[in-house]
Each structure stands twice: as structure tokens, then as C-alpha cells.
């Protein structure tokens, strides 16, 4: 085995069982203050609704909990440890000041139903963030209610439907490029639309001729990710928008890749009618192991009447408040007002950057992706030579000849101290390696990554079996996913 592991080195980590395995009766990590009201007879109050036993819930002490979760945490890779180049996931630095300001007492303990008079701080945050996002996207109005990107898509398509319905007919289909993320077709189905695939051309872009042929009065909207999942800017965007609009359709933009555009170009300016943003991608809110996210939807004027309610307004006396009387609204998509804690973080990020910082961030993100592309060209197959924006997609074509595929290369990359790139997506590239470094990587970190990837390419030539057995340095080796799905064990039970 060739050893060029410069970034990572083996380190001791602690074994740790399940919390239930540490439990024993009588241990406790809690203490309640003495009750200042009379004790109650629970049997009398609850009758047959009283619960007598909490089953196998654990009983452990505080230090055990600290060690348990700290040990578990050390088994995770994280942005804080290094480059996390998952394509289309935008794993950028999550600023710590965001965490501090979101925990300020009045914001963290604000109840969603407290009177507007004592909610002006929260409402001001919602308003300021809304204004920033409207300016960044070049749109006219926004809702922050959706809880994540896919939820934003759902909201967006509800708006599309309501818009067409208001013209007399909701239409039947949504066009979705074959390079799209899986949530796009899943969302269209949820809203009751049929999905029609749109094929990409040789450049990896929307095939404009195909679009022209497929576009008709049955199509409600085109869901387009721009830059698309190949990291390619849709250069015919103006034509695409015109084709949609000419037949009364709408152009929906999936803003997952907005990190390539902020401060450089605005979707509202190039014909997009509505779009969602992922605050947990472009606007630095932490992914937290899979959420929470936040998926605001920004729209053009024509769609504003349909936005989910309530809508934030400035009242006659200058204070902020919510308006619930929205007769054309699609309704609510979530209780309360959305993932407010994420709004705070996204706004803190925007304010920390300012216009110059946001632009520089975008430029660095694109610069980094192109540096990675240059560094890996030759070692890996580049299926589309179209210029890259914020991410680059290679394929495992060269390595496939030795029986090594993108997932194997990804697993080997772990041994070099990196989180893998996105594997096997987009679907239009067989064996895809989708790499998005974001702006948060220094040249040094990227050089280590390039060196690791080149080294793996060499290992594939010299010792493919070793790569196929990777990772070699992790706590657990490759896990049996087939067995996990065939006979699911989804919870602990006492033996």
C-alpha cells in the first residue's frame, strides 16, 4: 500500500456502546426544583390515562452523557475538520457568531404567539433578511416559511398551481431536466403534477430544441437548477425563459447552487419567475448531520398574492406585524413562521459579508472549483468540457476499466482524511464524481485533496483490490447495507 496520507493520521478513538447499555436504575442526570404548588394525585387527575412506566428509557449520570456524545462526535467527519467537497451540498464554513446570536435570550426564548408588540425584534430580523434575499435574487417578494429546500420546492409548485388556477386551468405537467436532483420530480408528484423529463444536450445544458418541442399549454413550469448539477451555467437561459413565457409557463429555479451566483448575477434579471434558496447551503447555516434547513421561496410580483400566509407587513404605525387575510394564498405549509433560528444565522452571515464579501465569496467558490478541475484533469475523465462554475463533475470511466467505481474512490478518499465528494449523481453522468469545494478552502487544503485524488488514481492502476477494500483507517469498514434493508433493525431492544 502506498502511503501518501499527508492530511490524516491514525488516532485513537474511544469505543462506546449504546446509551441503553450504560443505564442502571437509580442513576440520574436531572434535578428538579422543589414544587412551589401543592402536590397532585396523578391517579385522580388522569384516571386511566395515567402512564405508570416509561419502559426502557435510560438512567445515566451527566458525565456519562457528556462522554457518550463526545465519543460519538469523534466518529464523525465535519467541515470543522477539513474539506467536505460534496457536490451541490455547499459545505462551507458555518460561522460561530451565527450560533452565538441565535442563542440570545430574547430570540431563543421568543414564543411564536407572543404579542406583536413584544416581537418586533424577531419581525425586524425576518424583514431585514427578506429584503436582503429579495435583492440578492432580483425578485419582488419572498416567503421564509418553508422548512428546507424540498419544502421550498413544494411551496413553489403550489404557487405555480395557484397562479395557473387563477388563469382558469392549473395545467398538467412540470418539465424537469434529466440532470435534476431527485426532490424535483418527487415534489412535482406531491403537488399532483405529472413529470416530463427534459434531456440535456452535449454541453450538459438544457436542449433548447427539445424544450421548444415539449413546451405547450399543458406545461405549468420548468424546474431548472442553475448552475445545473454539472456546475454549468445554462447559457441559453434567456431563450429558455422566453420559450416558457411564450406559452404561458413559468420558470422555476432550484437555487441549490446559488453559491455560484450571489453578487454576480440575479435570477430575477434573467427571467426566473420563482425560486427557492437553501439557507443551509448558500447562507452558511449548519447542516447539523442532516438538518435543520430552511428553504425560502422568492417570487416575481405576479405570484405574490399566492404566497403562504401569514405575510409580514409594516403597519400604519410603522411597527411590523403579520397579515393573515390573504384570500388568494396557497395556505400554510408549516405551523408558525418557518425555521426562524436559521433566519438569524443566514442574516448574520449576510451582514458579516456585506456586498463586497458576498461577491468575493462567490468568486472564490468558482475559483476553487476551477482549481480542482485543473488539478484533476487527466487523472479522471471529464465528461463535459463546458466551463465549470462552483462545482465540477468527473466520471470513473478511466478507473472503471480496473473495476473501481466512484463509490470505491470515495471510500479510499476517506483514508486520506477527506470527506468524499457526491457519488453517482447527477444521473446523466454514469459513475459521477461531483466535487464542490466552496470558498472555504485554502490553496493548501485543495492541494492536499488534489494530491490525494491523483494518488488514488495511481493506486487504482497499481493495486485496485486495495482501493476496493477501502476505507482501511475508519472505526468500521464498509457496512452491510443490503442486510440492513433486508432485515431492518431500527431500534434497540433489551436482549
Amino acid at each position: 500500500m502506498k502511503s501518501v496520507t499527508r492530511k490524516a493520521t491514525r488516532h485513537v478513538n474511544q469505543n462506546e456502546g449504546l446509551i441503553f447499555e450504560k443505564s442502571s436504575a437509580g442513576k440520574a442526570a436531572w434535578k428538579l426544583p422543589p414544587l412551589d404548588v401543592p402536590e397532585v394525585d396523578t391517579q385522580k387527575l388522569l384516571g386511566s390515562s395515567e402512564r405508570k412506566d416509561l419502559g426502557n428509557m435510560p438512567e445515566v449520570s451527566e458525565i456519562e452523557i457528556i462522554r457518550h456524545f463526545t465519543r460519538l462526535s469523534t466518529w464523525n467527519y465535519a467541515i470543522d475538520l477539513g474539506m467536505y467537497p460534496l457536490g451541490s451540498c455547499t459545505m462551507k464554513y458555518n460561522p460561530r457568531v451565527n450560533e452565538v446570536v441565535s442563542r440570545l435570550e430574547g430570540l431563543a426564548n421568543g414564543h411564536p404567539y407572543q404579542p406583536e408588540k413584544v416581537s418586533q425584534g424577531a419581525l425586524r430580523i425576518i424583514k431585514t433578511l427578506s429584503e436582503c434575499l429579495i435583492e440578492i435574487t432580483g425578485m419582488d417578494a419572498i416567503t421564509l416559511q418553508p422548512a428546507a429546500g424540498a419544502h421550498g420546492e413544494l411551496t413553489g409548485l403550489l404557487l405555480v398551481r395557484a397562479y395557473h388556477q387563477s388563469k382558469g386551468h392549473p395545467r398538467k405537467k412540470i418539465l424537469i431536466p434529466d440532470s435534476a436532483h431527485g426532490t424535483n420530480p418527487a415534489t412535482a408528484a406531491t403537488v399532483g403534477y405529472a413529470v416530463e423529463n427534459l434531456k440535456s444536450d452535449a454541453r450538459g445544458m438544457v436542449d433548447v430544441a427539445a424544450l421548444a418541442a415539449q413546451m405547450n399549454e399543458d406545461v405549468a413550469a420548468l424546474m431548472l437548477t442553475n448552475p445545473n448539477t454539472l456546475g454549468v451555467f445554462e447559457q441559453d437561459i434567456a431563450k429558455i425563459a422566453d420559450l416558457m413565457h411564450a406559452k404561458g409557463g413559468l420558470l422555476y429555479m432550484d437555487g441549490a447552487n446559488m453559491n455560484a451566483l450571489v453578487g454576480k448575477v440575479r435570477p430575477g434579471d434573467f427571467g426566473v419567475d420563482l425560486m427557492h434558496l437553501n439557507l443551509h447551503k448558500t447562507f452558511s447555516t449548519p447542516h447539523g448531520g442532516g438538518g435543520p434547513g430552511s428553504g425560502p421561496v422568492a417570487v416575481k410580483k405576479i405570484l405574490e398574492p399566492f404566497l403562504p400566509k401569514p405575510v409580514l407587513i409594516t403597519k400604519a404605525d410603522g411597527t411590523l406585524g403579520f397579515e393573515y387575510d390573504r384570500p388568494q394564498s396557497v395556505g400554510r405549509v408549516r405551523a408558525f413562521y418557518g425555521n426562524f433560528g436559521m433566519f438569524i444565522r443566514a442574516l448574520a452571515y449576510t451582514l458579516a459579508n456585506g456586498p463586497d464579501g458576498l461577491r468575493q465569496t462567490t468568486e472564490d467558490a468558482v475559483l476553487n472549483a476551477n482549481y480542482i478541475r485543473k488539478g484533476l484533469e487527466g487523472a479522471y475523465d471529464l465528461p463535459y468540457s463546458t466551463p465549470s462554475m462552483h462545482e465540477v463533475v468527473f466520471s470513473d470511466k478511466l478507473q472503471g476499466k480496473k473495476g473501481v467505481h466512484t463509490m470505491d474512490i470515495a471510500k479510499r478518499l476517506i483514508d486520506y482524511g477527506f470527506h468524499p465528494y457526491t457519488t453517482a449523481f447527477p444521473l446523466i453522468v454514469p459513475g459521477a464524481l461531483m466535487i464542490e469545494p466552496t470558498e472555504s478552502e485554502s490553496t493548501e487544503e485543495m492541494d492536499l485533496f488534489i494530491e490525494a485524488m491523483r494518488s488514488i488514481a495511481q493506486e487504482v492502476e497499481e493495486d485496485p483490490e486495495m482501493v476496493l477494500a477501502a476505507p482501511h483507517t475508519t472505526r468500521v469498514s464498509r457496512l452491510d447495507e443490503v442486510a440492513a434493508a433486508r432485515k431492518p433493525v431500527l431500534r434497540w431492544k433489551p436482549s
Partner: protein
Amino acid sequence: MRYLPKSPADREAILKAIGARSIDDLFAPIPAEYRLNRDLKVPRQMAESELVDWFRERSRENGDGYATFLGAGAYYHYRPVIIDSLISRGEFLTAYTPYQAEISQGTLQSIFEFQSMICELTGMEVANASMYDGSTAAAEAVMMAVRLTGRRSVVVARSLHPEYREVLATYAFHQGMPVATAGFSDTGRLDLKELEKSVDQNTACVLIQSPNFFGTIEDVDAVAEIAHKNGAMLVVSIAEAVSLGIVEPPRQADIIAMEAQSFGVPLGFGGPYCGVIATREKYVRQMPGRLVGQTTDRNGKRGFVLTLATREQHIRREKATSNICTNQALVALMANIFMTIYGRVGLRELAKQNLAKAAYAAQQFGKHAKVLFSGSPRFNEFVVQTSEDPYAINGRLLGHKIVGGLPLKKFYPELGNAALWCCTEMTTRTIIDTAVGLVAESERSVKSAKEADVEEVAR
């Protein structure tokens, strides 16, 4: 910009390495007429200290230091400090969805423990890794029941959180699912006679909340019987998770859709919270959302992976059980740590304190105003009907830095001057007595005004 790890020289060097003359070359694919040749009109770059000051100011404008009697789907419970110490570890905070299991075992094992504890508490056999919140979890649970039964319509209790009902209406409308509502009786519980009439052979499920929006515990057995004898499923929404410490879980339910915010998640003006769906094992393949399962590695060592992904959008695209992708993992971790801290005994004691505080408060309010639905068992919320508009009473309470109960006129006009009050372990007797005092004063002044009117007329 302080987050960017590059010097101007680094940028120059990269441009040179990739053979670009300037950064503009890289943006050439964007048609020139659309490129933004000006600064974005957003506030200028702020120093960290300015940023903290700005948000501190917003925090002060946001009810900082007020005691609250608000619940209604968002509950103010104490959050043990180690929750934030642990979730602030970068390895949890800044990790992605655990698709690469070998370097995500921390997240995966903790989700497995979360699923296990939710099962213990709800009496269900499987639970998912989280949903956005209680409202969307309820809507997704209903759609799950529709898939499982092959039936299209839904009967919803009017005692379900009004905003949850609104969310369901949004989801159901576009699925072409008819939604009927069954009212509540003067016990504050679902009107079973009305339910009997609403459920038929087309009903996929009955959706109720328990404890319901008024804090009243539903007669789940009776509701289950009506649903099941018609071949419909029972979906139970639980908005106040702490109730599970002392209230028998709805074991007769087929699906439980809960909100775990009460388990150590800050109120945060409404989110992020943590929805969860729990159900029977036989229904798992129609369950939406991520699931973690136990398995072994090549050496037979125990490990955890995301499993049953064939239900999900990234595999099934338009045929997926749901379009959900990102969930609420970090919030679920908060709930997980909270459940671990309180555990088998603590959670019951905590729930008991909530019960005692609410019982005391309801009794005190009852001396001066009308407490509705008092014949039924309740957890930590209750409805008080006053002579005066609760908004007016709340206005005076604010002067004492107290946020009063939620006026219900907007959601339930038939209840008149009613408000929903909530007491948790955080509500002190002093605050309860102050609030009761102000309500008593209001009742007295309304009464004496009435008497004055009567005298006026008599004269």
C-alpha cells in the same frame, strides 16, 4: 472578508494556474447583459462586535425577560446546559447527512438511539429520524395512511392544532383528498357521535391530537374503535412531548405524528422544531423520511447506516413516499440528549410538575373565571373564559412582564372570550398568582360595571 482563507496573492496564483487572465473569465458563461455590475444593496460588511450588538438590540425588542403562559404547540421548558455544549461540537454541528456511514457513525448511532427512545415513549415499533415539525409530520402521516389504505378521505378533529389543520388542508387540497372535520363536545374532547357520522368506507384515517389543542386528553380507545371498525387508520398527533412522561401514549394508534420541541428545543419564535413519525413495523415501507438501521461491517462489528432508502426521493424520484430530503437532525439530537438526561424516572417527574402547576393554576383561575372542559383529564394547558376580552387582559399583564394565555377567538369564535393557558415547570407560583390576580380584577370590574348599568336602568 474574514471567512475566506485566501490572500490576494493566492487568488492571483490560482488564476495563473488555471490559465485565466482575471476572475471575469470564469464568469464569462453568464451572458454579459445579465451580469451584475454594481454592489448588491445589502448592508455593508459588519465587524463581529457590531453584529452581536445588532442582534442584541433585536433580542431586547423581543420580549426578553417576560414570563409566559403561552403553549399551543410551542412549549417553554428548561433546557439543560449540556444540550448546547454537546450539539455545539463541530463534529455534530458541521457534518452533512450521514450518507458516508464509515465517517458518520456518531450521527448515525445517535439517530438510532433517538428512534429507539421515541419508540419507547410512544409505544410504537418504529420511528423515523425526524420530519420538519409536528404540523408537516401530521400531514405526511395522513398521506401515509392514504397510501396504506388505498382510501382518499380524512376526518380531522377540530380539537387538532388549528395551524396543523391549515397545513393539512394545503397538502390535502392538491392531492385531491377530501377533509372532513369532526367537532368537540362540551367535554373539550372530540365529539364521538359526530365522528361516527363522519367516518365511512372512504375514510383513510382519523386524525386527532392528544393532549389536544385545549390540553384535554382524548379518549383514544373510543376514537380508535370507531376508526378501526370502519377500516380506517388512527393517526394521533402529539404536540406536547413532555406529556408522554405521565400520560399513557396512544398505543391504539396506527401512526403517531409528534412534535418533539418540548424535549430541549428552544422556542425560537417557532422553529426549527422537530417532527417525528412513529408507526408499526408492518407499515415502515410507506413511512416518509430518513431511517437509521443497525448492521455489521466486514469484520462483524456493529455499525449503523441509513436504510430503506428505496422509499426516498433520491432513489425513487417521482415515486417516492415523500419529497422530504433535509430533516431536522441537529434538533433531533437536542431531543435525544434531553430524553437521555431525564430518562425513565426524570421524564415522569418533570411531567408531574407540569401537571401540578397547571392543576394549581386552573384551580386558582376557576375561583374567578370559568375554566372550560374541567370534567376531562388534561395535561398542562387549560381554557379560561373571561367576561372581558382576553386581549385587553393580556395588555395589562404585559405591564407586569407577563405574556398571558393565547386568545382563542381567532380559531374558535364559538368559545367567546376564551384563552388557552399553559403552565410548565418554568411557571412559578408567584407568576400564576399575579396573573390570577389580574384576571380576578378584570372580572370584578366587569361585574361592577354591569351592576352600575343595571342601577342606571333601574333609575
